[in-house]
Symmetry: C2
Subunit: 339 residues, 2 copies
């Protein structure tokens, strides 16, 4: 295939899921670690941006986790150089001195906080990140094995709102890593090796470098494609469930200060999965922490909603549950003595 055709293909892939006319008048923050994926995203967006007339600006944002020692500083100045070459503004961040980025989650939280802060400071509407189809495959398989339930099989979302004014988008979510490498090769564009792996912990690397290759070798039926389709299907199922659950939450849940009330009359005949989703959304609406709630806790709460028995029990996060007749009441922080 001639070089020109291939290059156009990657830009077409971006254009297909995130058409230029949706962002050409907005500022866009591009998260660039310096690894292959984010460098390809930046080159692709920069090329689309160059060809498009619009008032929006592309801003290169790089978070220096400092986890790779002197390599980290090397990554940063390399990305700064790339931004300059492309004639784009660069924004750089690092953890506060007090911050301990010793887990993948804390590193991720600090990075997203920096990206959101940068976007809000620059008046950007979007943050573009370079998650690929390979990241999606790994995420879905990991969630299958770690037990997220079907909800989690939806994988990495293509668009997700981070604040009232800023959304994160993943324009490369349908692009395979090998397409990215061949794109960069044809542009003769170098990238920082391993830079894109700084967030990959042990298990994720094992899944990427050992488990998935072993599966691909044995199953000629294209397991990557199976996992990507599973994510698509899970998204369709989630939308269906949402269309049933949203009006039910509206009708049956009351959120007050530290308190959730379920009117059980309308929930009695609903399927278990609907009841559980109503419970999750109510919990979220109350702004209570979900991390402590395991599958068994959600099931316990759902059973209390669907069942006929009165009684009291406690859930993680200091939440008291009390069931009386047709009302289930949840209170966070202990029941007040006199009411």
């Amino acid at each position: 295939m001639p070089q020109r055709a291939r290059l156009i293909m990657l830009q077409d892939a971006i254009q297909a899921v995130w058409p230029t006319n949706t962002w050409r008048s907005c500022h866009v923050v591009v998260a660039v670690s310096g690894g292959a994926d984010s460098v390809a995203l930046l080159r692709g967006l920069a090329e689309l941006h160059r060809r498009t007339s619009g008032s929006g600006e592309l801003i290169v944002a790089h978070f220096n986790h400092g986890l790779r020692g002197e390599h980290s500083d090397g990554d940063q100045s390399w990305v700064a150089q790339l931004a300059q070459t492309l004639n784009l503004r660069g924004e750089f961040g690092q953890p506060a001195e007090s911050e301990q980025l010793d887990t993948e989650q804390s590193a991720r939280d600090a990075r997203y906080a920096f990206l959101l802060n940068t976007a809000e400071r620059c008046g950007a509407r979007y943050i573009a990140t370079a998650h690929t189809a390979d990241d999606q495959v790994e995420t879905v398989l990991m969630r299958v094995l770690r037990g997220s339930g079907i909800d989690g099989l939806t994988g990495i979302p293509r668009v997700r709102s981070l604040s009232a004014s800023v959304s994160v988008v993943r324009p490369l979510l349908a692009v395979r890593r090998e397409e990215i490498e061949s794109y960069l090769q044809q542009l003769d564009q170098p990238y920082r090796t391993d830079a894109s792996n700084h967030e990959s912990h042990f298990t994720r690397n094992w899944l990427r470098n050992e488990l998935l290759p072993a599966i691909r070798e044995r199953l000629p039926s294209d397991p990557d494609r199976s996992l990507l389709r599973l994510a698509e299907q899970a998204n369709q199922w989630s939308e269906l469930l949402e269309s049933i659950v949203a009006p039910l939450v509206e009708q049956t849940v009351r959120v007050e200060n530290h308190r959730l009330q379920f009117n059980l009359t309308l929930l009695a005949d609903q399927p278990a999965i609907v009841v559980q989703q109503v419970a999750r959304q109510a919990w979220r609406a109350a702004g209570w922490p979900e991390q402590g709630m395991g599958m068994a806790d959600w099931e316990r709460l759902s059973t209390a909603i669907s069942g006929a028995e009165a009684g009291k029990f406690q859930l993680p996060g200091h939440v008291q549950v009390a069931r009386e007749a047709q009302t289930l009441e949840l209170f966070r922080g202990g029941f007040p003595e006199n009411c």
Copy 2:
């Protein structure tokens, strides 16, 4: 733990999912290969049966695939001996001379045909098979990797109707293989090694003996449990979908000789996943073969149902599709020339 307590535990596990009073008055065919799982099932059921008063009889059924050479005949006489020891009737079958059991599917079809035939001949209501939680884990993971969609993640069903009068039940579906081995050890009950693997082809054995052990070693979060829960959840989702789809099929699909008609008015605003399930159920109601239909074919059919464009195309199994205004018509065997 004292021996008595452990033994009671396996029988409790059977009793919990398949209480004796549901089958004590029926004849039950127990499928016994001679491997650990089916021997444990037989011993468990025989013990429950012995303790229960009822008019039902347990019948030991063994299908001699002849795939293991002289071992196969050894398995058969071993199972005959076991049945005699337990004072139960034994029924034995083998492939017809013309039958080629050269694939896992053909061996499975022949075995189930024999079991169903035996059940009907003996007037049995149930066929009990010895699928375990480990089989379920393997099946769900295989379907995740091979791409069955969420429908397939429901895994092996606990009960499934085989004919108007006979159902297959799997009372050990929540029991782990290690519990079975410890049960047999405590009974001092031998079994035929490998006999239970005669249906396991290459890929399934790799998944059981290499892939799953590697995953268990790396993920301390109990991946088996995750996969079992996923199957449970997928079952809940399927029930929810069924409760939406069944009335829609009733209202929108007409099945006639070689012909399916969809009234599109009611289907236009339905979510994609609902439309696809309506299409699958209509196809099934027409008795058309599903094997040839891949995911892409189902999607094409769903798009024709939801979309606005008139047109004709063909689907696997010689099915012609024609869309006109508010009707979609499927015809199997080519459109007649003069209508």
